[in-house]
Subunit: 466 residues, 2 copies
């Protein structure tokens, strides 16, 4: 008895969206597009072109690109038709999970926007010409455990430049973020800047071999577990006490941005990789100092490590001041975008806006404009269904003049029709009974001011057009 | 040796999109959005709200909704993690394809926009209030054999009204189609109109039991196989000779729209369903006669049957005159949208634009405007990389004034930089060497007119802003 579902529960379950996915109706779409349009507009002003790639990719395009964890979180699509065709009864054993999976699956859902972009560049770089700048705003899918603010289907907004080593491209993401976040009226932000070569320089100066990844993985947790936590993690990962001290001192380098860079130059005087990183940081900073930023403080943050191993130069993360939300944009430079697809030596640099987080912050801080989407302007009230042909004509004349209009489909009580207008945020109602239809003079009521006047149609059109 | 791949073929294969899917870059996205924006704008003027549903749905939401063929064409998503969990080794047999499939799959890809809309209405009709008008422009996926013009991932553009029996809603799709196709400058179109009740009336007058579906399936092929072909098909489906004669006579009813309707009224004098269909046709026609249509001829077409069985009233298909493309929009009225999701008595009526076909026609007839998307306005030429900080500043000042700008990232030969501008459709180049940077007067060259003048930045901004 305890497990019996009520009819409501049963209905709930058959009408549910798949776990971790959402329907988006008018208000949410309009708010989301408000964010996307600002991002789109800014990217286009900087010469980025739109790109869209398919939702389904050949499974080989995706596997092995996102590490062990990513492989587990990929949504896999079953082969069409006889998906067991290539298997023998002998292969069909519960202990052959991976073997069966690779035989019955031939496609997967887009997991991020970077790998499809890399595939696209590898396929088309000849015609496109490099450098090529693209932005891409599309959903991705991950079989993650859904949680507050974490979905299995969510949007990413990426901008990348492929085929250039120019650090102007890295630096350009700073005014891009500044412009988008200023336009969205977000709180002031901190653009944290670091360089993987600086971290690699530090790692190569330590006694532990191949220390870079272990070191950055630990440093990356500084925000979460604090300095002591990082030290403990480093110890567990086999760093000697004097190495840990070196890392601690490195993270503690302070002063303004130029102080930090000068400090790094001295530190890496005899370490060419670390020194190169300091020089790159200096060049990127130099560009941004040429321009006024409205909303953004650029800070060299030596504790910024970025978990992903493919970054090789500039790395960055953007956080909003006094907002507890983590990074709302991030990215960096990578030496080789397309090698996995057989094309070598295509460096790139990119930025990803955390659009879902930006949306959540804007909701929390009430930053969306009040009437963000268009509402219908006027409701043609239905006094009597026998007038429907005249209402149909009236509505059409309004629409032909560019005014959005709806006819109330039923001749229900006037109060009910007014509620309909209110619910749909319609400001005006046009009331026409026998008399009005004969005279060609209609009652136009403004539901905000409460004003009501009799007017002919051309006067109504003139008034509603402003 | 014959099967050895060249390195190019190997690269081709790893960079391919999945079968039947496509990448969309700038030009295609802008053309597609040109169509979508007209559809969107028109729907909104008629009071339709946007809706988006998830790409992945629980598999139970999809199976059994699209017939046997649809079930085969669904893309199915493998359960995450141990997908074999609920199976025993005994179940894992090649002859247990469907059993295994239903155990290892829990989600599927959106196959059309109607079923997700029905699920959404069943879930939310309480809060939404009915009638509810939505439009939805999203891709769908079908594991069809790809062919010219047929893809496995393609866009649908649907508008539906849920929760009304008012035939004004049916009639409204006529000016909607007229407005969209006029705006797109498409050739004149024929809006073919019929009513399922008329066909049901005819079927009930025949000697064959449950003749409706067999009859409409045969009639639906008239365009493809001709009148003789339809007769043969009817014979094969077990219709008697005098029934076939009746159907032939019915399809041959001619005259103008009102002649046809009067003929139907006489024919169905004693057949309430057929008569009701004739009256509905008359009402819909009556509405459209109230309004001027710019591009569309409305024709009562008694041979129009629409294959889908869920239509119960008005049905329609739109074809372009003198264009060999089949229907470019279609739809109809259905008595019950949401019954499969446990909510009864929600009638609806909808229209689907064949956006891919419209795109193809517009390409063929060269109907897209010449410069449909925005190009970058000005390229800052790179005379010497040592001036990069100044170029960075110049580009930023242009962008801050709302002018899209790019810096050429390398100080290559001028000719190469001009080719870059040409390829990216950039009209102006700004040239600044040592002299110009010192004086604050830059060479602005219009690549279309060939004109070149030295100007300060504010003059350049004024000129490029128009």
């Amino acid at each position: 008895m305890g497990t019996q579902l009520t009819s409501r529960q049963k209905r709930m379950s058959v009408t549910n969206t798949a776990k971790g996915t959402r329907d988006f109706s008018k208000e949410q779409i309009e708010k989301r597009n408000y964010i996307f349009n600002h991002i789109r507009h800014t990217y286009e002003k900087y010469g980025y072109e739109p790109l869209e790639t398919p939702t389904i990719e050949n499974i080989e395009t995706l596997t092995g690109k996102y590490g062990e964890e990513g492989d587990q979180l990929l949504f896999r699509v079953l082969r069409s038709g006889d998906f067991l065709k290539s298997l023998q009864d002998d292969d069909l054993r519960k202990d052959n999970l991976k073997g069966i999976r690779s035989a019955i699956v031939d496609k997967g859902l887009r997991y991020d926007l970077t790998i499809p972009f890399a595939r696209f560049i590898a396929k088309n770089h000849g015609q496109l010409g490099l450098p090529y700048k693209r932005y891409q705003i599309q959903p991705v899918w991950r079989a993650d455990r859904p949680a507050r603010g974490r979905y299995r289907e969510f949007f990413q907004c990426d901008g990348d430049v492929a085929g250039t080593t120019s650090l102007m491209s890295d630096a350009e993401f700073i005014p891009i973020v500044d412009e988008v976040f200023t336009a969205l009226k977000l709180p002031k932000s901190v653009f944290k800047l670091n360089n993987r070569k600086v971290l690699a320089g530090l790692a190569s100066s330590l006694s532990k071999k191949d220390a870079l990844i272990d070191m950055t993985t630990a440093i990356d947790k500084l925000d979460k577990i604090g300095a002591d936590g990082v030290n403990r993690e480093l110890e567990q990962r086999g760093f000697a006490a004097n190495d840990i001290k070196k890392i601690e001192d490195f993270i503690a380098i302070d002063g303004n941005n130029h102080d930090k860079i000068e400090h790094l130059k001295r530190l890496f005087e005899e370490n060419s990789e670390g020194y190169a990183g300091a020089i790159e940081l200096e060049e990127v900073l130099g560009y941004t100092e040429q321009i006024p930023l409205q909303n953004t403080e650029v800070v060299v943050d030596l504790s910024l490590a970025r978990g992903l191993n493919y970054y090789t130069g500039t790395i960055y993360e953007v956080a909003l001041k006094n907002v507890n939300m983590g990074s709302v944009a991030s990215g960096g430079r990578y030496d080789n975008l397309t090698e996995a697809f057989g094309v070598k030596n295509v460096p790139g640099v990119g930025l990803s806006f955390g659009a879902e987080r930006v949306y959540d912050v804007m909701e929390q801080l009430n930053l969306f404009p009040d009437h963000i989407g268009a509402s219908v302007k006027v409701l043609v009230v239905n006094m009597n269904a026998s007038y429907n042909p005249q209402y149909f004509k009236l509505a059409h004349e309004l629409r032909s003049a560019g005014i959005s209009a709806e006819i109330h489909l039923k001749d229900t009580k006037l109060g009910k029709q007014m509620k309909f207008a209110e619910k749909h945020n319609i400001q005006y109602v046009l009331i026409a009974g026998e008399e009005e239809l004969k005279d060609g003079k209609y009652q136009l009521k403004d539901l905000i001011s409460g004003e009501q006047r009799a007017m002919n149609l051309s006067t109504i059109i003139d008034q509603l057009k402003d």
